[in-house]
């Protein structure tokens, strides 16, 4: 049968489209092959297990040292380490079915997505079988490593925030101790701020811009014991008196110095993760930062005379001594071909006190085991001790996980950046913020 040229072209086009459609449908079926769990844990471990993590350079070496302890304890096991794999790469690799056994992420934001989607396996059967006691993990940390009751990750070190202050600047300004309330923070901040002859800022006591370095809604949440979502996942930010008071306090502070003046000063500061960090150079006298800053200062500005203290709070609203906590999470990928080996490695990284102490000493992050926090082998000086105490505070809290990677935090940050610059009707803006966050929730689904 002879077909006209045009018909042949059409048939070819339709066939190509159909083939592409078939590929699409084929791509839809990612398939998960969770192996059955043995009744008892294997007595001897053998084989190779892969570990994907995001650390690079010196920090990757610390992970390697910690993992070598696992290999020594299990002579038949080799850990194949893949360093420098951030969350985006991890997700792509898992979804494309690559042979990943254990994945270590820097962000608790993935927990909602990875637990609900099955990208990380449910650990409950292993925990029950091996009768693992999770009470050694602080409550807040246990909170951010599970999603809606499903535990698919375990913690592997955490970050907490505190107030860092420059002792020399304090002495110069006649300030005897770190501020404990927001009013004191503002008063001290203004007192510590000095100006050049042309009116520009020479030294800033405390930078109130929400987009400066580690300033962010979650890092400031301890000031008011902030909450973000209710039990149904709806935003409660706009209904919270605490958030409103904090926003108003911050805007007043910004306006007192002047937004443009602050922005001009901040724009000229060095990069946060570089030797010319503004706290290192003394251009900023107080800042809210994580425990890792102590390691950066020890490395890049060892002669800096500074102290650490809990984040100042709004009296009667925030809990002085507590903070927002989040950190690294690790899980067994759905495509793992060695789930028992993976579980053993995961247990070692997350629940072995010595391994946690080794990693914490090397990375200067906070251990996520009470036993490691109390360990005599944990290298702690006075400055670092403040972070350890804050991490162990019973009122230390975290932010809820959502399937969309806690997108509400990014929405709140953008809202705050606009607020500090433009001001306006705060009540109306907060209502709109709640609406935006709730509307975006429908994209992620239940």
């Amino acid at each position: 049968m002879h077909l006209p040229t045009r018909s042949v072209t059409r048939i070819t086009t339709v066939a190509a489209m159909a083939a592409a459609g078939a590929l699409v449908l084929a791509g839809c079926s990612s398939g998960s092959s969770a192996a059955d769990i043995a009744d008892e844990a294997p007595t001897k471990l053998e084989g190779t297990v892969s570990l994907w993590h995001f650390f690079t350079g010196r920090e990757a070496g610390v992970i390697k040292d910690a993992v070598s302890g696992f290999e020594k304890a299990n002579p038949g096991v080799t850990v194949d380490i893949h360093a420098g794999q951030d969350d985006e790469k991890l997700q792509k690799a898992i979804s494309s079915g690559q042979n990943i056994d254990v994945g270590l992420s820097y962000s608790t934001a993935i927990v909602g997505s990875f637990c609900s989607s099955g990208a990380f396996r449910d650990l409950a059967p292993y925990i029950e079988r091996d009768k693992v006691d999770l009470s050694d993990i602080p409550d807040a940390v246990r909170g951010y490593t599970e999603y809606k009751g499903q535990r698919c990750t375990l913690p592997a070190l955490a970050d907490v925030d505190a107030l860092l202050y420059n002792n020399e600047a304090f002495k110069e300004a006649g300030i005897t101790g770190p501020p404990k309330t927001l009013d004191e923070l503002k008063a001290d901040g203004l007192k510590l701020t000095t100006y050049n002859a042309d009116g520009s800022i020479k030294r800033l006591g405390f930078n109130p811009l929400i987009d400066f370095y580690e300033n962010s809604p979650q890092h400031w949440a301890a000031m008011i014991d902030g909450k973000w979502l209710d039990g149904d996942g709806k935003s409660v930010i706009g209904k919270s008196a605490g958030w409103k008071q904090l926003l108003q306090w911050q805007k007043d502070y910004v306006d007192e110095i002047g937004y443009d003046k602050l922005k001009a000063f901040t724009s000229g500061l060095g990069q946060e993760f570089a030797a010319d960090n503004a706290f290192h150079t003394g251009q900023v006298a107080m800042e809210i930062d994580g425990e890792y800053r102590t390691a950066f200062i020890a490395d890049q500005k060892p002669d800096l005379d500074y102290g650490t203290a809990p984040i100042p709070v709004l009296p009667g609203v925030g809990n002085y001594g507590s903070t927002w906590i989040a950190g690294n999470v690790a899980g067994i990928a759905k495509g793992s071909e060695n789930p028992e080996l993976s579980w053993a490695l995961l247990k070692y990284l997350s629940l072995d006190t010595d391994a946690q102490v080794t990693m914490a000493n090397g990375l200067k992050n906070i251990p996520t085991l009470k036993s490691a926090l109390a360990s005599k082998d944990l290298e702690v000086d006075d400055r670092y001790q403040a972070f350890v105490d804050i991490a162990g505070d019973p009122k230390t809290f975290t932010s809820p996980a959502t399937p969309d990677g806690a997108a509400y935090l990014a929405t709140q940050t953008k809202f705050w950046e606009a607020w500090q610059e433009q001001g306006g009707n705060l009540d109306a803006k907060l209502r709109k913020l709640d609406e935006d966050i709730d509307a975006a929730g429908q994209l992620a689904g239940p």
Binding site: A16, V24, S30, D86, Y106, S113, S117, K432, L443
Partner: protein, 348 residues
Amino acid sequence: MTDVTTPETGSREARPTRASRPPAPTGSRPTTPGTPPRRRRSAESQRRLVALTMLAPALLGLVVFFAYPLVASVFYSFTRYNQLQEPEFVGLLNYRFLFTQDPQVVPAVVNTLWFVVVLVPVRIVCGLLVAGLLSRARTATGFWRTLFYLPALVPPVASVVAFVFLFNPGTGPVNQLLRLVGIEGPLWFNDPAWSKPSLVILGVWVMGDIMIIFLASLLDVPRDLYEAASLDGATGVQQVRHITLPTIAPVIGFAAVTGVIAALQYFTEAAVASGVASGKATIGGGTAAGLGYPGTSLLTYTELLYQHGFANFQFGYASAMAVVLFVITAIVLVLTMRRISVFRPEES
């Protein structure tokens, strides 16, 4: 004075028609007018098979890297999909959210259109001016051409990082020079009002890619046309308007079309500028962190798409955004090509 065109340009009659073309070779058994129809059809099929075989690698690439992603994007745009679970059909939810509820879409679209309307014409005009000057250079031509082309070879990330440091309001040399002459420079990449113009300055600096094409086309304009026009008393401006621009119009059209497409997909420069200017440039924080800084002034449409896809795991919604971008790009492309009339086969 009328536009000067060569007699051949735009002449359909000048081309041999299909019927008048000599028959193409068909392999070892050439057909002749006396060949029976069945054998002719067989030879025709064989020829098509050979052509298809030769085209197969290119066609395969087209299907895998263009057709499949396109069809997949359309499919996923009607689903809730996070790459880890089976896609869930949600009808028009993603499109409804995109057009009516996403608070970031408006600033992202406005910013992207700003780059289309400002960055593309500025780059073309500057590229043309520099190419015009270089085409008249008589000494050290190689040096000047290299000098103006060189920035285009710098990787985009490196050039953005360098520019953000050069334009640092406090410590950058640009504002320090301005201060010497009594001008207090703006905050450049840290000011929502100046962040986009700062990227335009960067775009002009790296215009070597289109400048070199303009230069080649300018050098290709027949000299005798200028001589004839000069004898007719045409001024320099008239020569540019009636000889140079009409002759290089196809090249300008090419630069406009590719520039518009690139501006609609503007991502790297804006993302890197935001990260560095915010003082939070780091490794391991994820690309999506800090997109748009300062405020949302550098948030482009593709950045928003990336943020939804890779930070929020909303690949269904990101696919809907991609489909809309594809449709808009196609419409803009068709309108631009019709407007400038240089891509029509009969006029090429």
